[in-house]
Symmetry: C2
């Protein structure tokens, strides 16, 4: 990428939230009262976090997301704009409540997430652009808005660019996996979809009937993906983990940006895994997403 | 109370929060992701809830509480003012974060509370009034601000009016129980303080060395209190419980108001238990606190 060329980028679609992150000694297990000594109020959500990662990595990023016209929505948009994300495709719906989450993080960095989305938020996609914006050389969609994800992945197909589905949850629409060019599942979603508890077996089973490139991200266990009909394993980089919150979303954002830039899948996995590893070494959810030079330095150091 | 006389009231001191109440199918037990289909953002906190109960029961109410000068604090104050609570003694501290809680309520009405208070909120009490406001014929303090509770209970002593401590948690200052004229513990706080798991035994043990009137509130198991050296049990009213959130706080507010009005303890318990019982039949935390005519009607019906 030359310095003078306009940056290539990713059209993202999905959820952006305001997260209330409570530090607790131990995660709650019973219907009692628990005290928190630390609170961070930060933007979050799969697509919101991935967008920030893309912007920090030097990519252009547009985020299509459904918000209410409330104070929470103002905070979500303001934060993303400050990060350099183009929010022209944020839809603000009157009279609803914007998505918020309560996230509890214990002393060991383990986290529990309770996410609220307004059930009244409209499914319709008529307000999405008819074609991808200039410079959007990939699409990334999450599973939180099925109709929207399908529309965005179709825009990618029509434009002939990669369309990545973040399969964090079981896809809410039956055509999503086939419409995407690339799907990266979570272990939980893959198990639900394939009916196999073992991610390797589940991936192999789905690979038999899909022409889409398929992977499953396993956190510190690395990534499994299918290449020439075989399940291939890539280990994660070993780092001192402080906070995994948002690391998966950073991975998806970096992976989609790498594909948008024309990197092959193996190189994109390496780039994304480095970005996610760096994030894990820093507290504060997506505020720990790295810049591109940090990723390049990290990759140079691991050799 | 004649219609023309100014209402008698309670000077309250303690915590007021903004609660994010998430409806969930089941309470979370592991470090995973949970979805919430319903969210209510409502004022809360022991003293805040008790203040609303007092105002709705027709009492005057002043609330001394420590908040930050943030948007959350604005929402907390605005909500209490709308309920008729005098917020002249709210202290707004610059640069801090106002108290917020995440409350998870499952399909059976069981709840889990994670409460955040800024650890930097100042302990000093110099900004409290030197004497109780005119018409404040009782004090109610919670355990969330030890120095403040002690100062407020001393004001009650100096004025010769009841000083009620809501012993929801183990009192944070050793002089609190002796300075109060009345303490109503939760079962958990009583067990911690007395070293006895059984509330009857714990209350009897504390009663041997305290001149303060002592009780323990046990939810649907009613109230235990000490009268003439004996532990006496009052059963709770039987109602169809929908939501217990804030019911204990409503009890404390109603109990303090009844004492302010000159009711004896047994009558005050009956009044408070009716108010709390009605609250339990209504969803939405303190928004279910009853008005006085509802309590009088309820008590007339149970005979």
């Amino acid at each position: 990428m030359s310095a003078s060329a306009p940056a290539t980028g990713v059209f993202c679609l999905g959820i952006s939230t305001l997260d209330y992150v409570y530090s607790v000694e131990t995660l709650p297990t019973r219907g009692e009262k628990y005290r928190s000594r630390g609170l961070a109020v930060v933007g979050g959500g799969c697509a919101g976090n991935a967008s920030v990662a893309i912007a920090r990595l030097g990519g252009r990023c547009w985020l299509a997301t459904r918000l209410a016209d409330d104070l929470t929505g103002d905070q979500i948009v303001g934060d993303l704009v400050r990060e350099g994300v183009d929010m022209d495709f944020a839809r603000r719906v009157a009279g609803l409540r914007s998505p918020v989450s309560a996230i509890l993080v214990d002393a060991q960095g383990e986290r529990m997430i309770i996410s609220y989305s307004d059930p009244e938020v409209p499914e319709d996609t008529h307000w999405l652009p008819p074609v991808l914006p200039d410079g959007a050389n990939a699409v990334l969609a999450d599973t939180r808005w099925g109709e929207g994800a399908l529309a965005a992945l179709r825009l990618a197909r029509e434009a002939g660019v990669p369309g990545v589905l973040d399969g964090d949850r079981k896809p809410p629409h039956p055509d999503l996996v086939a419409t995407a060019s690339h799907v990266a599942f979570s272990a939980q979603a893959l198990a639900e979809l394939s009916g196999e508890a073992d991610p390797r077996g589940g991936l192999a089973r789905l690979g038999q009937r899909a022409s889409t490139w398929l992977a499953v991200t396993l956190g510190k266990e690395g990534v499994l993906f299918i290449e020439n009909g075989e399940v291939v394993h890539t280990p994660a980089f070993t780092v001192e983990t402080v906070d995994t919150l948002g690391a998966g979303d950073v991975w998806h954002g970096a992976f989609a940006l790498a594909l948008a830039e024309g990197q092959a899948e193996r190189a994109a996995i390496r780039f994304a895994s480095a970005a996610a590893a760096i994030k894990c070494t820093r507290f504060g959810g997506r505020s720990g997403a790295p810049k591109r030079d940090e990723v390049m330095q990290f990759l140079a150091n691991v050799g």
